[in-house]
């Protein structure tokens, strides 16, 4: 039988860290993605260029390198800032960058770029006539966005979102490298201590597959919800 040698509870804790990290990063990336998509579709040249720069740079550099840059570099950046604060105002504070926050920010920042591309394509797939119809009903831009464009965009965006989420979930494993105790790190520690890498790594792999399967099911339900009125007539 499966013997986790007392590492069971810690592995579960690590799984909790993985899931909350993934969900929070997803939330951040969705916000960033919507902002990026809006910037790319806006008439402002500056916003468009900035958004393009952001998505190009982020998608051209490995996740791990970005993570280390933001985590190790972020600490120095914060130190410089607090030193400056001390020199100018005499306020002495020390901020230690929390690995969890660094993880959420980095993963959110990386996947915001991918989400932006997904959202942009989805927004463009909404027929222009729909927006005109909304305007004809006297809706303002904001109301048209929330009532017409957003719900219809989601139908087109969901397959891409689900794909991004699966990649994001697997990317969370990288935070173990910068020192966050997610389930991968705990499994790696347990493997070294007990000299049984197969047991722990396979347990963690199964947990990842479980999370992926559950989210696949959730996304299928969401897809059904946002497809109401499509493809049920025939």
């Amino acid at each position: 039988m499966l013997d986790l040698q007392g590492y069971g509870p810690r592995l579960l804790e690590g799984a909790g860290v993985t899931v909350s990290l993934a969900v929070l990063s997803l939330a951040l990336s969705l916000v960033l993605g919507l902002a990026t998509a809006s910037a790319k579709m806006s008439r402002s040249v500056v916003a468009h260029r900035l958004a393009t720069l952001y998505t190009t740079l982020i998608r051209g550099v490995p996740d791990l390198v970005l993570m280390m840059l933001l985590f190790f570099g972020g600490q120095i950046g914060v130190n410089v800032l607090t030193d400056w604060l001390y020199d100018t105002t005499g306020v002495d504070i020390f901020i230690n960058i929390n690995e969890f926050v660094a993880g959420v920010v980095t993963i959110g920042l990386i996947f915001g770029a991918y989400m932006g591309e997904t959202f942009r394509g989805a927004f463009m797939a909404v027929e222009h006539g729909q927006i005109e119809a909304g305007k004809a009903y006297g809706m303002g831009d904001r109301l048209v966005f929330w009532r017409i464009r957003f719900p219809q965009m989601m139908r087109h965006a969901l397959p891409g979102l689900s794909n991004n989420w699966m990649v994001l979930l697997k990317t969370t494993a990288l935070v173990s490298v910068i020192g966050l105790s997610d389930m991968v790190r705990i499994a790696a520690e347990a493997s070294k201590a007990t000299r049984e890498p197969f047991t722990f790594m396979i347990v963690v792999a199964v947990i990842y597959l479980l999370i992926a399967s559950v989210s696949e099911w959730l996304f299928a339900r969401l897809q059904k919800r946002y497809s109401i009125g499509y493809g049920e007539m025939d």
Binding site: P62, M68, K170, P197, A205
Partner: protein, 242 residues
């Protein structure tokens, strides 16, 4: 060459971090990264073709094991696969006595092994999608010409499937380049490994990681343009006529 090195040395005279020595770390790292990515992609590609054909088979006994393999390798983080192979290889019975051990105990081999299995799984699914998308008429036409299924596969299905798979495969190549950064975790001195070394030695995260990010960015764009060029050549017949 010597003159060039001297000039570079002069250029770097006032820089304490980017000396010839650290640049040579990055250079070696670049070679390791390119070797690792190139080898795993080539082996993965060779593995993926028969696997994709098997995955498209009608027989469950061929289809399902391949599906299980791609599902597991696409559904779990590459880092886990790497750890499993890197830490697990020692426990394979008799491996430490075998003549291959001096090569296997280097981190390069387990990393190559993990990356190859990973990219083969993704490539298998890409090819399977491309094979499935073959227009029925093409297969029927091949049959009408009296081709056997094997001949039709070789002459009709695969050539057009490879072309259709090209854009998705280009993404996979870039994905592998980025994923290869993970190899630094098992102490391999690839590009990211070099950056981590320089960071640890000089405590200069911005210099170390921004420089390596720029190299990755250049590599990414080189791959991107290479695949655009390939698509232009190989998919010319699919472009809309102007």
């Amino acid at each position: 060459m010597q003159a060039l090195l001297d000039r570079l040395d002069g250029l770097l005279a006032n820089n304490s971090i980017f000396t010839l020595q650290t640049l040579s770390f990055y250079g070696d790292g670049l070679v390791t990264t390119v070797q690792l990515v190139f080898l795993s992609l080539i082996i993965g590609l060779v593995m993926a073709v028969p696997l994709a054909i098997g995955r498209s088979s009608r027989h469950g006994i061929i289809k399902w094991p391949i599906f299980l393999y791609t599902y597991v390798f696409r559904g779990t983080p590459l880092l886990i696969q790497l750890y499993l192979i890197y830490y697990g290889v020692v426990f394979v019975e008799g491996i430490q006595e075998s003549w291959l051990w001096p090569i296997i105990k280097e981190p390069f081999v387990p990393a190559l092994f993990a990356f190859t299995l990973n990219t083969a799984a993704y490539t298998t699914e890409i090819f399977r999608g491309a094979i499935k998308a073959t227009p029925r008429g093409e297969i029927e036409a091949a049959r009408a010409y009296g081709m056997s299924p094997a001949l039709a596969l070789r002459r009709i299905v695969l050539p057009s499937a490879f072309r259709r798979a090209l854009p998705a495969y280009g993404n996979e190549v870039i994905f592998m380049l980025h994923a290869s950064a993970i190899a630094s975790v098992v102490t391999l001195m690839d590009l990211t490994g070099a950056a981590r070394f320089v960071y640890a030695r000089f405590y200069a995260p911005f210099d170390a990681f921004l420089f390596v990010a720029a190299i990755y960015l250049c590599l990414t764009f080189a791959i991107l343009y290479f695949f655009r060029f390939l698509e232009k050549r190989l998919l010319a017949h699919l472009r809309p006529m102007t």
